[in-house]
Symmetry: C2
Subunit: 239 residues, 2 copies
DNA sequence: CGAGACATTGAATTGCCTCAAGATTAGTGG
DNA sequence: CCACTAATCTTGAGGCAATTCAATGTCTCG
């Protein structure tokens, strides 16, 4: 990542991120963890703040400790598309490049475990498991992006909204694909962000949520909190 | 790649692919090139034939020698989306996985330089430059996929068609982004394939091409052959 | 309690799709 | 070389899904 705008809080060594073996840290040995710990900093960003901008220089990388980050592309006339979401434990940043190809914005209050570019790149050269891990991560992102291209290119508004609800459900309960169960969670995005992720207008997102609620595929409390009584029924509505 | 259906022609050692340092071969040393040459096979596929299917086992990888390949995702009800295109010198196949996450189909007659999965994976373990190269390639694909997500999520039909024409122009003349020039080429896809790539119907693609022709942004001869008098004007129409 | 942000709902419009009919092109065999 | 056929492409008419514009409703937080 890059162009880190001043965090709202004094940086301090980020122990949690390492201790948990979260994000990339699982690929490091003890010595490297110690090296990393000397250079990482816990940083916080408030909802809506920009972590880095498109076409800016890459100056640092990070693991997400908590919160949700939108990866966005913006057209000259202001139209924007969310091209990816990052959750806790995800790695953020584009290795093997000098400038960013998209911008990143906090979709909620966010805690990061941030490290300077040079540190990570040095480790990358010394540490094949780490490089392998980042590659696997990149390929997973590629699969996700292509999966979402189908949603954007070929699904109806109703299917897109259902796809999003299912995507988040899968994230909350990774083993979900096998079973049909009830699940409840808080939506990580506003209607506006959902619209930008789904390639729809805010109003259409709202209408489709209302429709899914009318069909009792989802129960919505407080705008943000949703309950899915039957995830399999939701999956079918997702196309 | 995987589940290679029987090629139409007797396989033979693929010298071109190595000699040209095309695709992944530029990352190999002389000894590895020789090893690779013993295991690669030149194969051909006719338009429309399937190279491998979604969720099939990965049994081999390949470099594209000539022709164009569609990477596709298909929904249960038959709707389909082209999520990527592969041209000459591109590498095909998903490393670090056991099964494919999409299907691949020849969009034209295709020549491949194919290699067994085990060979490539062994080289990958021995050869960091190769692994690095595949990672850079994967990240480039990720950038492309995200770029296209904007096209699918936020652009009008007219802009999508213009974006496609510009994408191919960029491929034919990589340095195009800087200058405004005239360029001519053959469309690598049928209207139907373009529609599946653009998330549109065939008819809409056709209408938008007619409209671009009426605006003299493109001259079309013989359905397939196009001339772009001014690539900068095209780029502006692409949004 | 009031203000501002966020979300829902309605009405009218529009852009793309579907269905249907021709036109063009490419391929085939006489 | 031409006629014939099948495939591909273009064009038109009508319908529908999603957008835009506008108003109302709801939640959050000083």
């Amino acid at each position: 990542m890059s162009n880190i705008h001043p965090p709202e809080e004094e940086p301090r060594a980020c122990r949690n991120c390492n201790v948990r073996h979260a994000g990339i840290c699982g690929a490091l040995d003890v010595a490297q963890l110690q090296t990393l710990a000397r250079h990482t900093r816990a940083t916080r960003y408030k909802v809506g703040s920009e972590l880095f901008g498109d076409e800016t220089d890459i100056t640092s990388y990070a693991n997400v400790v908590s919160g949700v980050i939108k990866l966005m592309k913006v057209l000259e006339d202001g139209r924007q598309q969310v091209v990816g979401l990052k959750f806790a434990n995800d790695f953020i940043g584009r290795v093997h490049a000098t400038s960013n190809t998209l911008s990143a914005e906090a979709a909620s209050d966010v805690e990061l475990c941030q490290m300077p570019r040079a540190i990570l790149e040095a480790m990358l050269d010394d540490n094949r498991p780490l490089e392998r891990r980042l590659m696997v991560e990149a390929l997973r992102e590629l699969d996700e992006a292509r999966e979402w291209m189908v949603t954007l290119g070929r699904k109806s508004a109703a299917e897109r909204v259902a796809s999003f609800l299912y995507l988040i459900a899968l994230h909350v309960r990774p083993g979900l694909a096998q079973v049909s169960t009830e699940i409840e969670y808080d939506l990580p995005l506003t209607r506006s962000d959902m619209a930008d992720f789904l390639g729809l207008s805010i109003e259409t997102v709202s209408r489709q949520l209302t429709e899914l609620r009318r069909m009792e595929i989802v129960v919505i409390r407080n705008k943000r909190h949703v309950t899915i009584p039957d995830t399999e029924r939701l999956r079918q509505r997702a196309g």
